[in-house]
């Protein structure tokens, strides 16, 4: 067989749930400086478990920043594209952090458990950089907004799938019923203080739960004992790709702006408040974008992958930023930036896969939506 089948051995961090993954026989891989489970029983099986029942992900590697104080909202607003001051207590919102030219530094989720307290979840790969960026921009000499990095003292799990609410009900009675999508609450799970949000990265209903690090393993085990399927990074990627959710480093990065990525809805410009990249983004919005991130679906056998060139009438017109096989749809899917005029669903293209053209077409976003009639499985 061609290809390196052996493991990489560079040093990396371990989450509080590491012993659980080892005990379950997970295949571990390095990811953003962490040793994370790629899969337990198999990517496809884990993927289907989330779509049909419930799956459990260790997402402790993600950055968690608490911003507190009377000026917390205003300070955070100056960092994010979204006007977080309009997030009500008990709600959350997806946002981007941009640099001055409008390029995306990270995609984050900002939650507001209290009027003067925000929890900002950031990508593992960007945690240090965003933490520094935030610290550098804190109002000088002010005790009106404090920043705390609480990653090291917490664990974070994602419980995802149609059966997720019933599992949460068993752990924290009454909480699921009162929690709408994108909302958050603080509750007790087995006497442990927990932060719970009705959010996720899979396209299914589900929850993300933050607990003290020492309580992470017990919570994980409680859910696994209830037959929730442990799921690794492999399934995390196939699930999010079907839901057409951007992956930082692939679909969005410093060379892409929110509007071409289809994330203009996270950019608030009408409050007039300053934030990283505002002027550039205003100009981009006014000028319009020449390319857009599009969904692509294969029309024949084969798998398109990140980096594959995209061809229209034989001419190169872009490159795939994400690609893979969709277990739920049974075909290969991908994301890539295309000239705006080629992004209408149904537009036929070819993906250059190792020198051979793979017929594909632009698909409506997302590829998969929960509850859509007629999708296989």
């Amino acid at each position: 067989m061609g290809g390196d089948l052996t493991a990489d051995s560079s040093p990396r961090h371990r989450t509080p749930l590491y012993p659980e993954h080892i005990a379950l026989g997970a295949r571990m891989v390095p990811f953003a400086g962490w040793e994370m489970p790629l899969q337990y029983t198999g990517i496809v099986e884990e993927h289907h478990a989330v779509r049909r029942r419930a799956g459990l992900f260790d997402i402790s590697h993600m950055g968690r920043l608490m911003v507190e104080g009377p000026d917390a909202a205003v300070f955070l607003r100056s960092l994010c594209t979204y006007d977080v001051t309009r997030i009500a207590v008990g709600e959350g919102h997806y946002a981007l952090v941009c640099r001055d030219d409008g390029g995306i530094l990270d995609d984050v989720y900002a939650f507001r458990p209290d009027a003067e307290r925000f929890l900002v979840v950031v990508n593992a790969a960007n945690a240090e950089r965003i933490g520094e960026w935030a610290r550098d921009h804190l109002p000088h000499g002010s005790r009106q907004a404090a920043l705390l990095d609480c990653q090291a003292e917490t664990a974070m799990l994602a419980l995802q799938g149609p059966e997720a609410p019933s599992h949460l009900e068993a752990l924290a009675p009454g909480v699921a019923r009162g929690l709408a999508a994108r909302h958050c609450a603080e509750a007790e799970i087995d006497g442990t203080p927990a932060f719970i949000s009705r959010t996720g990265y899979t396209g299914e209903d589900g929850f993300e739960i933050v607990v003290p690090a020492a309580d992470g393993p017990a919570l994980w085990r409680r859910l696994v004992e209830r037959s929730v399927q442990p799921c690794g990074l492999g399934a995390r990627d196939t699930l999010r790709l079907e839901a057409a959710l951007a992956l930082y480093g692939n679909d969005i990065d410093e060379s892409t702006n929110p509007f071409e990525a289809g994330l203009g809805w996270t950019v608030t410009l009408d409050d007039g408040a300053g934030f990283g990249g505002r002027e550039a983004l205003l100009r981009i919005q006014e000028a319009g974008v020449s390319r857009r991130l599009a969904c692509l679906s294969a029309l024949e056998r084969g798998v398109m992958r990140a980096g594959c060139p995209l061809l229209h009438d034989g001419r190169p017109v872009g490159r795939l930023t994400s690609g893979g096989f969709s277990p739920t749809l049974g075909v290969s899917i991908g994301l890539g930036y295309l000239p705006a005029e080629l992004t209408a669903p149904g537009t036929e293209l070819a993906v250059d896969v190792r020198g051979r053209p793979l017929r594909a077409q632009v698909a409506p976003r997302p590829f998969y939506r929960r509850g859509r009639v007629g999708h296989p499985h």
Binding site: M1, T6, V44, G234, V303, G324, F325, R354
Partner: protein
């Protein structure tokens, strides 16, 4: 699963079992485990000729694509349609139901260069120890 002794192995994790001048070719349990869930298999059509160690086909898993190499030289006489339609067979039964192609051997002495089950076990043990 233990590596069957009725066949020969390559360092690239393929196996070949010869019956009456026809070699059945597949990948080992170690290979299917490393590859993960297999989604597509590309094999040459009957009639194609291959040389030992040349690329025989491709195996695409959720994670990546891997080249398959011919353990021996020969002419393709049969391709396993079952694996084409149900690639998961390759993960579930790499030594039986998940066979890939059958080749009419061009030169039986080529088998001497391949590993026995014992030697292949040894290769895996050494790789594990690294």
């Amino acid at each position: 699963m233990p590596n069957p002794t009725d066949r020969r192995y390559t360092r690239e994790h393929e196996w070949v079992r010869v019956d009456d001048g026809v070699g059945t070719v597949g990948i080992t349990d170690y290979a299917q485990d490393e590859l993960g869930d297999i989604v597509y298999v590309e094999m040459p059509a009957p009639g194609a000729s291959v040389k030992q160690s040349e690329k025989l086909g491709e195996i695409e898993s959720v994670k990546a694509v891997s080249d398959l190499y011919a353990p021996i030289s020969g002419e393709v006489v049969e391709v396993n349609q079952g694996v084409n339609d149900h690639p998961e067979l390759l993960n579930e039964s790499p030594y039986e139901k998940g066979w890939l192609v059958r080749l009419r051997l061009a030169d039986a002495t080529e088998l001497d260069a391949l590993l026995t089950a014992e030697q292949y076990d040894q290769l895996l043990a050494e790789a594990e120890a690294e």
